[in-house]
């Protein structure tokens, strides 16, 4: 099953290997007669000029990689779409890969992308990844960190101000009248999870007459949310929180589903707010209030920053931060009403 090589093409065309190479790279240097023979040989043998081979010399390709924890989360899928739109405009193709929140897989895919000599990497991660990206950068592949702020100025990043987002979510719950708040998400080692909690706790502290309980749920999916919902239902009603802030919409939707099935009136008895404002938040069982990190320019900003880095342009602000917005819907509005 050996592949057709440049040698086979040269043999069939009855020219030197160097002539085939010239034909591929500097066609102007090859006579029309030889060019025709080489083209014929390429067609009949089914030879593919390997970009792999070409990259050995040039070290560049028109591909960038986007490594995300899980593209099935609409939040990441939307970023991917914005990234692809801008990449298309630049004539660059995007390869996607899912780490499924596993450090081993994240490492494996970083390696795969590096070995395929992508021009640059976009990385969304819930793990501490900056040092590993520094290694990758040292070996020649630059990257932009998405969703968590880079610590070093060497590591460009595009993220959301999650402390501010957490604060906005909590201020809204307090505003509608919730006093016993549950924060659902985990683990706290994840910067995004910790930042949202920091903002939320600060809002509670400033307000005074309210409490915040942390429910640790590292499986931040609809399934994880269903588990939390079931645990809350199992509590006596007076021990249930009256306001729930879930660290993402998937968790919030899962919690909501189980609570509603269990007869809890949302939002009158319990208000729920999510985070991300994914495209299902609006069509959920009870339209979900959420903190939106959606910005039309997010994906474009990420790609532009990557190419500024690749092309060595001066970067005024290596850590671009978007401000999140509160989107109020039925899952919180009307809390406490008869």
């Amino acid at each position: 099953m050996s592949r057709v090589g440049i040698r086979d093409v040269a043999a069939l065309a009855n020219v030197a290997v160097g002539t085939v190479s010239n034909f591929l790279n500097h066609p102007d240097r090859v006579s029309a007669d030889k060019a025709q023979r080489i083209q014929f040989a390429i067609d009949s043998l089914g030879f593919v000029p390997s970009s792999a081979g070409r990259q050995l010399r040039l070290g560049v390709s028109s591909v960038i990689g986007y490594l995300a924890p899980d593209v099935s989360n609409p939040y990441f899928a939307e970023i991917a779409e914005g990234v692809e739109r801008r990449a298309d405009e630049r004539g660059v193709t995007v390869f996607l890969a899912n780490s499924h929140r596993s450090r081993d897989r994240e490492d494996a895919y970083l390696r795969v992308f590096e070995q395929h000599r992508v021009q640059g990497l976009l990385v969304s991660s819930h793990l501490p990844v900056e040092e590993r990206l520094a290694q990758v950068r040292k070996r020649g592949t630059p990257s932009v960190l998405i969703g968590q702020k880079g610590r070093s100025d060497e590591q460009p990043s595009v993220s959301l101000d999650d402390v501010s987002g957490g604060r906005k979510a909590l201020e809204h719950l307090l505003d509608v009248g919730c006093r016993r708040i549950a924060y659902v998400g985990g683990p706290l080692g994840i910067p995004q999870v910790a930042d949202r909690l920091a903002g939320a706790s600060e809002a509670v502290r400033l307000f005074g007459a309210a409490t915040i309980e942390v429910i640790d749920m590292p499986d931040r999916t609809v399934r994880g949310g269903r588990e939390v919902g079931a645990a809350l239902l199992a509590r006596p009603p007076e021990l249930r929180p009256d306001g729930i802030f879930a660290v993402n919409d998937l968790l919030a939707l899962g919690i909501m589903q189980v609570l509603v099935q269990g007869g809890v009136d949302i939002p009158r008895q319990t208000a729920i707010i999510g985070y991300d404002d994914n495209e299902f938040a609006e069509v959920s069982l009870i339209p979900l209030t959420s903190v939106s990190g959606r910005h039309d320019s997010f994906g474009g900003t990420v790609v532009d920053l990557l190419f500024d880095t690749i092309e060595g342009r001066a970067i005024a602000d290596p850590h671009h931060m978007f401000e999140p917005d509160l989107v109020i819907r039925a899952s919180t509005e009307g809390f406490g009403r008869a």
Binding site: M1, P49, N98, V112, H116, G254, F280, S284
Partner: protein
């Protein structure tokens, strides 16, 4: 500047051949040399170039997967299945999103070919047969997912879409719906064509039932929303009383569009059913009836077929067709 094997060898004080042996046949090398080479690799930041290695060995650990729409959870679940199976074989899956665009699809196939991937899984949009044939002749197997190979040339994993369409149509008719509408597109997408043929058959089997086909240019939530708004704007007598959307994203959009109109109720005025049974179908404002595809198992199976074909290129192709399953929820009533 990339570091070469030559530089690694110089730094480690060994021959290039020894470095190569450390990389490829470690058992042939003295432990002391392995250590020195590894230190040199670390110190210089040498990256083993897969591309170069594959030029020689013809073996990659990467499988390319091209999906129609990365925003559709059906495809990401399918990818998840393929990834799980890949991991069992120490392979990595790289995803390309064709976004229902022929030129993007073809670019991904080009790149996967140039990168010498181990194999290609593809949910095809355009006419990719000749391309895949060429790939195969060069030793890169391909398996179709979510679409059956029309001429039986390639192995494939799919769901019986015609039957799925029939199940959805028959279910609406059993719920006393008589003016059905099928929403989906583009019309030449084979999955959509098959689902439409299925609902047409269901309609033909009953007298007094009509079917209107509402063609969309794509299958995302926004496309569905536009359809829902248009249905809501019609006079009641001209509205369908049962809508079958070609996938759940469209159905969720239709639901959104319909419910923006006060007084219009789902399922009382319009019953609605989707296709795929994605995770969000059950969590919708009116929980959505759907036709389930076993997306994760489809992905796993596709990867297994790919490895089968690689192991034995001469074996007959395999067409695995899964049965669709009707899932009834509130959006089609009781």
């Amino acid at each position: 500047m990339t570091v070469s094997v030559r530089e690694v060898a110089a730094h480690a004080g060994v021959s290039v051949g020894t470095v190569s042996n450390v990389l490829n046949h470690r058992e042939r090398v003295a432990p002391e040399s392995v250590r020195r080479v590894n230190e040199a690799i670390e110190a210089l930041g040498y990256v083993r170039n897969d591309a170069a290695r594959q030029l020689r060995a013809g073996q990659s650990t990467t499988v390319g997967l091209v999906v129609l729409d990365v925003r559709n959870p059906f495809f990401t679940e399918m990818a998840r299945g393929a990834e799980q199976e890949a991991e069992r074989h120490d392979l990595a899956v790289i995803l390309g999103n064709s976004d229902e665009d022929e030129s993007r699809e073809s670019r991904y196939l080009d790149l996967f070919e140039q990168q010498r991937v181990r194999g290609v899984l593809i949910s095809p949009y355009g006419e990719v047969g000749p391309r895949l044939q060429r790939l195969r002749e060069r030793g890169t197997p391909a398996v179709l997912v979510d679409r059956r190979s029309a001429d039986g040339v390639f192995s494939s994993v799919s769901v019986d879409d015609e039957k799925g369409g029939w199940l959805a149509g028959t279910h609406l008719i059993e719920r006393s719906r008589r003016r059905l509408m099928f929403v989906g597109g583009p019309a030449d997408l084979r999955q959509i064509e098959d689902r439409r043929r299925g609902v047409e058959r269901a309609v033909r089997e009953r007298s007094g039932v009509t079917l209107e086909v509402f063609a969309t240019s794509a299958m995302q939530v926004a496309d569905g929303r536009a359809v829902g708004e248009e249905i809501a704007a019609r006079k009641a007598s001209e509205r369908p009383d049962g809508v079958f959307a070609g996938n759940d994203l469209l159905a969720l959009g239709v639901l959104q569009g319909l419910l923006q109109s006060p007084g219009l109720r789902v399922p009382e005025d319009v019953a609605l059913i989707g296709f795929d049974d994605i995770d969000f179908a059950a969590a919708a404002v009116v929980p959505l009836s759907s036709v389930r595809q076993p997306s994760r198992i489809m992905g796993e199976t596709a990867l297994r077929l790919l490895l089968d074909e690689e192991a034995d290129p001469g074996r007959p192709v395999q067409q695995v067709v899964f049965e669709p399953e009707l899932v009834v929820r509130a959006s089609t009533g009781r």
